[in-house]
Each structure stands twice: as structure tokens, then as C-alpha cells.
């Protein structure tokens, strides 16, 4: 029987040489006359082991990694095609502690299936949610999502069911489902991974959203920095059209739903939902004032559901297994699972899906295994460039929307970036302001001007100029930005700045280096 060997095509694996591994492997298989076929899967999320290749054996998949193209010959010599032993052999994939301790609901298929095989998708419980949705009344679908407790995974944490109900209850000749795939936060890559590794789950989630709210058209707005995700999603949508998953009759039902893939143009602020809608309409990505809510007047002034990729990709399993199944995971008002993206200076880098409730310390020390550099952890930024820096003293904070808010932070899109003790938090605070200045859409003065002033004030502190006065000024500026900006860019840039000042005060009273006399 032909043995299947999996070589990921996920961008992170490609960045680490997976393409060369696949090519070398294909050449060697042919030259040696081995009865094997290569499947280009998504990533399992163990990125420190990428490129991680797997061989399908009767007892399960055997993993090898990190594999370089130059390792391929020796792997085959050691009997790769029969799961043979080799220094790079990691054992059974399912038994790897990083994977085994996860609760994979949204990412259940990612890294397992061939991303562009609809039959593979079906064989792994795909389309069951949509099949159930077409038998339900729209209000019942919405009730399922509401009851599951699913909240927007883009960062704001707004209950998805309530958003859908608003669109369902708003009359409109035309309604839209917009998927926000403008995943611009540093430290996040869950959207990219699902689009590259299991694109049909997003398509299925969007189709369910369409049926639930009466929308017949969906857009996926993907950032241009993600060419691999764009290519995979485009092909997946074509396949879904061809096979009747999308189109005039979704799975043979009376519901019509179509999806179009759109590419962003390099503006971080377009990850903000109203700026994204403007961008889709062909305008500058300027933030809109709310109200009106997008659910009432969104894309082209029509009622619009705008959800993050992971929110939509979590819907199929809720419909398939029922809202209670999903809701039973998690803590407090944060229900279900969250794909935590562990990044930066940390040993075990990758994606870890788990129920809400793990503490930050468990994530960084136990799962992440501490820093990659081996030095002590100094700070962890949670939630992207607008998220707060957490010191070790706050490592007991559980991963939960409310718990993080109570510590003046946010979980955002659940990306965490670890820094070792060489990090200069004043420099990080300055960067937060600099980034805001580069990416501000310009609508709100505190964000547009304040960010530039923030960089200047941080520079003065670094130069030792009236440090106390300038620290007060920076705090004051942050307050102005926080309360005087329409969206999260200006409103949340103060989070990394203030948290850095609060938790790492020593870095904000640097003794400037004496410059040599000219």
C-alpha cells in the first residue's frame, strides 16, 4: 500500500525550508522506487520542530523534525517510509506532550488533512455543522451560537451570537458576511494557519453565518502579507463552488451563499472592523464612528456580520456537536477554547489550542518551556502591539477576557510574545508609539499626533532630559489617546506604554550614556 508522507506547506514551515525538503524527498522517493506519496498538509503548530514531517503508519503518524533537506537521504536510509528510527524521530505525533495536552476544537483538522481535499475534510467530520444548519431555522442557528458563549476571537470579545441576531433582525434586501482576516498583530498567526491548513472550516463557518442571518454574499479580507493564505483560500473557494458547498444552492438547500477573497494593501488599521469595511468599499481605510453599528449599516450600508477568522471557524463544531459541548470548556464568561499563539523568545514556539483558564505562567514556563535564549523571562506582551507587557509577578493571571482586563491588559487575538532580560522596556514603549504613528489612519488627533509626540517624549526620557516631567507627560498623553480615539489603535497603544512604565520603572530612568566630547 502506498504510504503517505506529510510535509507541511504552512508558511512557517516554508520559511524554515519545507519546500526544499518536499522537493528532495520527492526526488529520493522516485530514485529509490519507494511506494510513497507526499501530502502537503498544514502545520500541527509545533513550529520549533518545523519542518516537521510525518509518516502514516497503521498505529498512527510518526513525526520527524526539524528536518533539513540534507537530512532526507539519511531519513530514508533509516526506513522513513516504515516509520523507522532516526535521531530526528519524535515518536508518535499524537503522543507529543505539546499536542497531547491540547483541546483541539477549532484546529481539530489543521495539520492532519490535505487542506484542499474536500473528501479529506468530510472524512474528518467536515461539513457536518453546515449540514445541520441547513435543516434549522435561522433563529435556531443564532440561538446555538449564542448559547455556546462564543465571543469574538479578533480581540474585542463581543458575543458572536448577539452580533448575528442583530443582523438577522435587521431588515435588508442585501446582507453580508465579512471575514476579518487582516491579522496584523505581531505574535499572532492563528488565522493564517487555519486558512492555510484547513480553509474549508472557514468557508463552512461563513456559509452557516450566511444562512443564520439571511446574508448571501461573503468577503474574506486577507492581508497582503499572507500570499500563501490568499492562494489556499482562493483555491478552496473555487473547490467549494464546484462541489455545491457554495453557490445558488448551498449543499442542495434553498439557501444561496457566495464568497469572494479580497486582498488588503498593507494597512494595519484595516484590521479594525469599520476601517476594513471602508477598505472593501474601495475607500481609504479610515475608521468609522459607531453607531451606526456594522450589524445595522455595514458594508455598502447593508446589515453586515463582521467576524474574525477564528470566530467563524469555531462555528461549525458548535453546530455539529451542539452549543453545550463547546460551552463546557473554559472559565467564567470566556467559554470554549482559544488558540494561543506562543511566539518570540520562547523555546516551544507555536500554536496551542486550549480551554480558557490556563495561567500566563503555565503558558510561558510549562508549555513554552521558557526563553529560547535560556535567559530569564523579563516581559510577555499579550494581545499584539496594542497589548500590555506583563511581568513575571502577574504570571498567575488566568487566560480569560475579564481576568486580563482586570490587570489592565487584554488577551486580544491571543498572541503572546516573550522577551528575555535583555529587552529594554523604554525602547518597547517607544516602538508602540512609533508603530501607532506609522499605522494611524489619521482620523483622530490624539492618535495621529499623539503617537508622534509619544516617540519624542520617550526619546527625551532615554536621553535623560527632565525624566520625571517627561514620564508624567507620557502618562498624560496616554490618557488623552486612550479616551480620545475612536478605535483600538489610538485607544490601546497606551496599554503597552503604561504597562511598561508601571511594571518596569527602572527602564524609564536610564542614565544616558556620556557622549564623547567633540
Amino acid at each position: 500500500m502506498t504510504v503517505r508522507i506529510f510535509v507541511p506547506k504552512d508558511a512557517a514551515a516554508l520559511a524554515l525550508g519545507a519546500e526544499r525538503v518536499a522537493k528532495t524527498l520527492a526526488g529520493e522517493i522516485e530514485a529509490r522506487g519507494i511506494d510513497a506519496t507526499i501530502v502537503r498538509n498544514g502545520s500541527r503548530g509545533l513550529h520549533w520542530l518545523e519542518p516537521m514531517i510525518e509518516v502514516e503508519m497503521p498505529q498512527g503518524r510518526i513525526a520527524y523534525g526539524p528536518v533539513k533537506a540534507s537530512d532526507v537521504a539519511s531519513l530514508l536510509d533509516a526506513g522513513l517510509a516504515t516509520g523507522g528510527n532516526h535521531p530526528l524521530c519524535l515518536g508518535k505525533t499524537e503522543e507529543l506532550p505539546f499536542l497531547k495536552s491540547q483541546t483541539r476544537l477549532t484546529f481539530a483538522r489543521c495539520g492532519i488533512v490535505d487542506p484542499l481535499s474536500l473528501s479529506d475534510y468530510r472524512a474528518h467530520d467536515g461539513l457536518k455543522g453546515l449540514e445541520r444548519a441547513v435543516t434549522l431555522a435561522p433563529a435556531d442557528i443564532v440561538a446555538h451560537v449564542t448559547e455556546s458563549g462564543l465571543r469574538g476571537r479578533g480581540g474585542a470579545g463581543f458575543p458572536t451570537g448577539i452580533k448575528w441576531k442583530t443582523v438577522l433582525d435587521t431588515p435588508g434586501a442585501r446582507k453580508y458576511i465579512v471575514c476579518n482576516a487582516d491579522e496584523g498583530d505581531s505574535g499572532t498567526f492563528a488565522d493564517r494557519m487555519i486558512m492555510e491548513g484547513d480553509p474549508f472550516v472557514l468557508i463552512e463557518g461563513m456559509a452557516i453565518a450566511g444562512i443564520a442571518t439571511g446574508a448571501t454574499k461573503g468577503f474574506v479580507y486577507i492581508r497582503s502579507e499572507y500570499p500563501h493564505a490568499i492562494a489556499t483560500m482562493t483555491q478552496a473557494v473555487e473547490i467549494a463552488h464546484r462541489t455545491g458547498v457554495l453557490g445558488a444552492s448551498v449543499l442542495g438547500s434553498a439557501h444561496a451563499f457566495d464568497i469572494e477573497i479580497r486582498t488588503g494593501a498593507g494597512a494595519y488599521v484595516c484590521g479594525e472592523e469599520t476601517a476594513l469595511l471602508n477598505s472593501l468599499e474601495g475607500k481609504r481605510g479610515i475608521v468609522r464612528a459607531k453607531p451606526p453599528l456594522p450589524a445595522h449599516k455595514g458594508l455598502f450600508d447593508c446589515p453586515t456580520v463582521i467576524n474574525n477568522v477564528i470566530s467563524l471557524a469555531s462555528v461549525p463544531i458548535i453546530l455539529d456537536k451542539g452549543p453545550i459541548y463547546y460551552k463546557d470548556f473554559g472559565m467564567g464568561r470566556s467559554r470554549g477554547t482559544i488558540p494561543i499563539q506562543i511566539a518570540g523568545n520562547v523555546r516551544h514556539r507555536g500554536l496551542y489550542e486550549a480551554a480558557f483558564g490556563l495561567t500566563l505562567g503555565e503558558i510561558v514556563d510549562d508549555i513554552g518551556g521558557g526563553t529560547a535564549s535560556g535567559r530569564p523571562v523579563k516581559a510577555v506582551q499579550v494581545g499584539g502591539p496594542l497589548g500590555a507587557y506583563f511581568p513575571r509577578a502577574l504570571f498567575d493571571t488566568p487566560f480569560d477576557y475579564e481576568a486580563f482586563a482586570a490587570k489592565d491588559g487584554l488577551i486580544g487575538h491571543a498572541g503572546i510574545v516573550v522577551f528575555d532580560d535583555t529587552a529594554d522596556m523604554l525602547k518597547q514603549a517607544r516602538f508602540a508609539m512609533e508603530f501607532c504613528a506609522v499605522e494611524s489612519c489619521g482620523k483622530c488627533t490624539p492618535c495621529r499626533i499623539g503617537s508622534t509626540r509619544g516617540v519624542e517624549v520617550a526619546d527625551k526620557i532615554a536621553q535623560g532630559i527632565e525624566q520625571e516631567k517627561n514620564r508624567e507627560l507620557l502618562t498624560d498623553l496616554c490618557n488623552t489617546m486612550k479616551f480620545g480615539s475612536l478605535c483600538a489603535l489610538g485607544g490601546f497603544t497606551p496599554y503597552p506604554v503604561i504597562s511598561a512604565m508601571t511594571h518596569f520603572p527602572d527602564d524609564f530612568s536610564p542614565v544616558p550614556m556620556v557622549e564623547a566630547a567633540e
Binding site: A15, K217, S224, G264, A265
Partner: protein, 159 residues
């Protein structure tokens, strides 16, 4: 990418592209992407044609083109090297690597080497934060970069 275009060529191709795509909902960004793919940048000459065909003012089209980081108003070098400057890459020494690349190429971000070989651009996150520091060279991704790896990338674009 043709760098020696007459304004008539630009007019004709722009009109083709706009005619083909203007039936899309919200067609302006897809049109601009296609124009940049065709010419390597968004030529000034294209703007009045787009404006006329989409019934927009020229100022509106100009506003959109200049808002987005992706659209160029002049051609890039033969290679485009994008270095990630965001936090995850910073935590793994991205800033030092950026300085190294800048000094090897003798240019700063947003600049092109005098021989036209390479344009250096900052990018704020390639979604390769678990493989930091990361870069993209002509659309191909590279992760876990170190000094040797960036020297290799620089040698590649210089070749």
C-alpha cells in the same frame, strides 16, 4: 514588469484592467492591485482613467493610493526584501539583523540600491512570529534568520 512604458501603453492597459474589474463590488483596491502587478507600481497616468471609469474624483483615487503602504508611485528594485520589524522579531534580535542588512546594502528602509538590485522595506508582521526573526524576499518567506542567513539573502539579491 516592463519598465519602459509609454504613457499610451499605460492608458490602454489601465483601461483594459478597469473595464474588466469594474463590475466587482468595491472595485478600487482590486484594480489598483492589478495595475501594480502589471506595471510594478501605480503610475500617475493611470489615476485619471480609473477616476473617470469609476465615477470618482481624481482626488479620491489619489487619496486611496497614498493611504495604503503597498502601492508604489515608482518601480521597486529588481528584488524586494521585506524585513519584519514587529515585536516578536525584535525579541529575537530582529533590530540587529536589520542594522546588518542596512549596512551591507548601504541603504535605509524604503530605499533602493543605486544599481537597482534591491528595495528594502519594513513590514510589520509576516505572521511568522514563531519563526522569528523573519523576512520575505520577492514573496518567498524566510524564518529563524541569523547573521549568516541574512548575508546569504543579501548575496542572493546582489548576484
Amino acid at each position: 514588469m516592463n519598465l519602459h512604458l509609454s504613457s499610451r501603453d499605460i492608458d490602454v492597459r489601465t483601461l483594459d484592467i478597469v473595464s474588466e474589474m469594474k463590475s466587482l463590488e468595491g472595485p478600487l483596491l482590486p484594480i489598483l492591485h492589478e495595475i501594480q502587478a502589471e506595471f510594478g507600481y501605480v503610475p500617475q497616468e493611470a489615476l485619471p482613467i480609473i477616476a473617470r471609469e469609476l465615477n470618482l474624483s481624481r482626488a479620491e483615487v489619489h487619496g486611496v493610493v497614498t493611504f495604503y503602504h503597498d502601492y508604489r508611485d515608482h518601480p521597486a528594485g529588481r528584488h524586494v526584501l521585506k524585513l519584519c520589524r514587529a515585536e516578536a522579531c525584535q525579541s529575537m534580535g530582529g533590530d540587529q539583523l536589520a542594522e546588518r542588512v542596512k549596512s551591507l546594502l548601504g541603504i535605509d528602509f524604503h530605499q533602493t540600491t543605486l544599481d537597482g538590485a534591491v528595495t528594502l522595506e519594513p513590514v510589520y508582521c509576516l505572521g511568522l512570529c514563531s519563526a522569528a526573526p523573519a523576512a520575505m524576499l520577492d514573496g518567498e518567506v524566510h524564518g529563524r534568520l541569523d547573521a549568516d542567513a541574512v548575508d546569504g539573502l543579501v548575496a542572493e539579491v546582489r548576484a
